[in-house]
Structure formats: C-alpha cells, structure tokens
Amino acid sequence: MSSIDDYEPLRGADHAPGDEPAGGREVLEGVLGYLVGLALAILLTAVSFFLAGTWLVWRPSIPIALVVLAIAQIGVHLVFFLHITTGPDNVNNVLALAFGVLIVMLIMVGSLWIMSNMNNNMTPMHMQMGQSAVWFMVA
C-alpha cells in the first residue's frame, strides 16, 4: 500500500532521480540549491556566448573550450536540477547515466570518426576526376 506521501524512501532504499536528497530538507534549502544551480548555469552559458564572439583568445581553441563548457554545464544541471549524486542511494541512477553516456559517445564519436575517415579516402578520387567532378559537386 502506498502512503499519501512517498517522498521519503525507506531506510536503505534508492533515491528517485530528481528528488532532493533524503533527510527532511526545508523549502528554503531546496530553493537555495536551485538558485546555486541557476547561477552556475547562467555563468557557464554567459562565458560560452562570450567566447563564441570574442577575438581575445586564439580562435582555434574556441571549439574545444565551448565543448568543455557545455559538458561542465550539463554536469551542473545533473547535480543541481536532477539531483544526481555520488551517494550510495544513487548508484543505480549513476550507472544508468554512465551506460547512456557510453552509448551517446559511441554514436557521436563513431559517426564522426567513420565519416571523416571516408571523406579522407574520397579526396584523391574526385581530384583524379578533375574538372567534371568539381562541376558535379557545385551543381
């Protein structure tokens, strides 16, 4: 039978993703947690948008910096908004997340790697074909 309010897990149980850590946190504490998350997310977003338009840093470094900032911001969202932690009550959530990240990486890195490899192997071919191939690509 489920109770009226099943927020507090029984001792030793898991933690639902998205729920605040168990232990009777007050409303104000919860709001503060979200405020910290919001402040960090806004900071990281602002740095990303600033970097994308600036000439103050070496331009070729910017894509890497943007990707790193995005990963950091996703981490902030996971911790402060989705309440994914390293606690023992969160092991299942973290393992599921780790498997998801593995598949995402396989799809992204695998696709980019294979396609760039194929592009590299294609290059000599249309150079051999010369003018007609270039015309074909433009048309």
């Binding site: 489920s2 897990p9 030793g12 979200y34 990303s48 948008f49 599921a96 598949i103 799809i107």
Partner: protein
C-alpha cells in the same frame, strides 16, 4: 541498493539502530517505494531519449558543412535570439524546480506559481523558435534546401516538439493537482514531468553549443 530486491534479509536485525551511510548500504530488507521505481524507470526512458538525440547530433555534425551552395549557419543564426531562448529555458528549469519543491511541501502558490512561470517561459521559447524557423523558410532556407538544413531542422525541431509536448504535460499536471490534490500518484507524475523538463534543458545546452555557437563561429 537495487530497486528490485531479492529476498535475503541482510540488515533486518540491525535496522532499528542503523544510522549513517554504512547502514544504508547494508539494509536490503524491503522493496523500493513506488516513487523510486517510477522515477528510475522514467530516468531510463529519458536516457533512451538522449540516445535518440545523439543520433540526430551525429547526423548534424556530419552534415553541418554540406550546404549545397546554400546558406550556412554563419549566414542564418542570430545569436541574440539564441541567447534569449537559452535564458528562457534556464529560468524555466529553475521555476520548474520551485514547482517541485512546492509540490513536495503541498504549497499551492509555490507549485502553481512555479508551473505557470515554467509554462510562460516554455511558450516564450517556442515563440522565438517558431519565429526563427518561419524566417529561415521565408528566405528559402527551409529543410529541403541542403543536407545541413535538413539535419538542422530535424535536430532543433525535434527538441522543439519535445518542449511543445512538455508544455501540454505541464498544463495537464496543473489541472491534475488542482482537481485531485497532492496525491502520491499525482506527485509521481509531477516528478516525471520535472525530470523531463530538466532533461530538455540539458539537450538545449548541447544544441546551443554544437549547433549555434560552433555553427556561427566556424
């Protein structure tokens, strides 16, 4: 530790005096609450949704240079709009968190206020995005123009569809809490909705970085 417990009562005898993290690990004597199982199941669904998005991201990354002589991201993207869209979604993640706290505390003004603010911000995001899409199609940069634009509209449009469905779900949850009160089953749906909304924000972080910032800079 697992959501689905199998039998053996390892820590049962010590449960009364069990305190602290070590005791939490030892005690496997009861099934997880419905809230944990529902939340975990929805978390798995969201991860599968993220994997679907990763396929669209991979497609976009591979095709982003294939403009077929048409406009590139640099010609089309207005980072000013994207910054406003990002602000809308970030703030809505915050107000959605406030609504979740309000639901937990059975605090009406906090729950309804948080949900209403989330709804307004979500609709603001959608309005800007639809305006952007219509503007691009008007200037001949629709999804049929090039492989780059097909991939762009698929990826960003799929996120927009998620936000649209999320907004409908949001309105449903306002109505359900209003009609049925803070019942455990209704609150589990609110939990799933909040997870869904925060995940959309995470996907948007990837979109504004990979599509807009990298696209406008390259």
């Amino acid at each position: 530790m697992t959501a689905f417990q199998a039998g053996a009562d390892y820590g049962g005898g010590r449960r009364e005096e069990a305190r602290g993290p070590a005791a939490i690990v030892l005690d496997h004597s009861h099934p997880a609450s419905k809230r944990i199982i529902v939340g975990y199941g929805f978390w798995i669904f969201l991860l599968s949704d993220i994997i679907m998005f990763s396929a669209f991201f991979a497609t976009y990354a591979v095709l982003s240079g294939e403009t077929a002589g048409g406009p590139s991201g640099k010609d089309l993207f207005d980072l000013h709009n994207v910054a406003i869209e990002t602000g809308c979604l970030l703030l809505s993640s915050f107000t959605c968190g406030l609504a979740a706290i309000g639901a937990r505390a059975h605090n009406g003004p906090m729950y309804y206020g948080g949900m209403a603010a989330t709804c307004v911000l979500g609709l603001g995001f959608l309005a800007i995005e639809i305006h952007e899409f219509v503007g691009m199609i008007d200037q001949g940069a629709g999804p049929t123009r090039s492989a780059f634009l097909s991939a762009f509209f698929t990826l960003v449009g799929c996120h927009g569809v998620h936000v649209t469905l999320g907004t409908l779900w949001l309105l449903t949850m306002i109505a359900q809490v209003f009609a049925k009160g803070y019942r455990a089953d209704i609150l589990r749906r609110v939990l799933c909705f909040a997870l869904f909304w925060h995940t959309l924000d995470i996907i948007w972080v990837a979109i504004f970085t990979v599509v807009y910032l990298l696209g406008a800079g390259s």
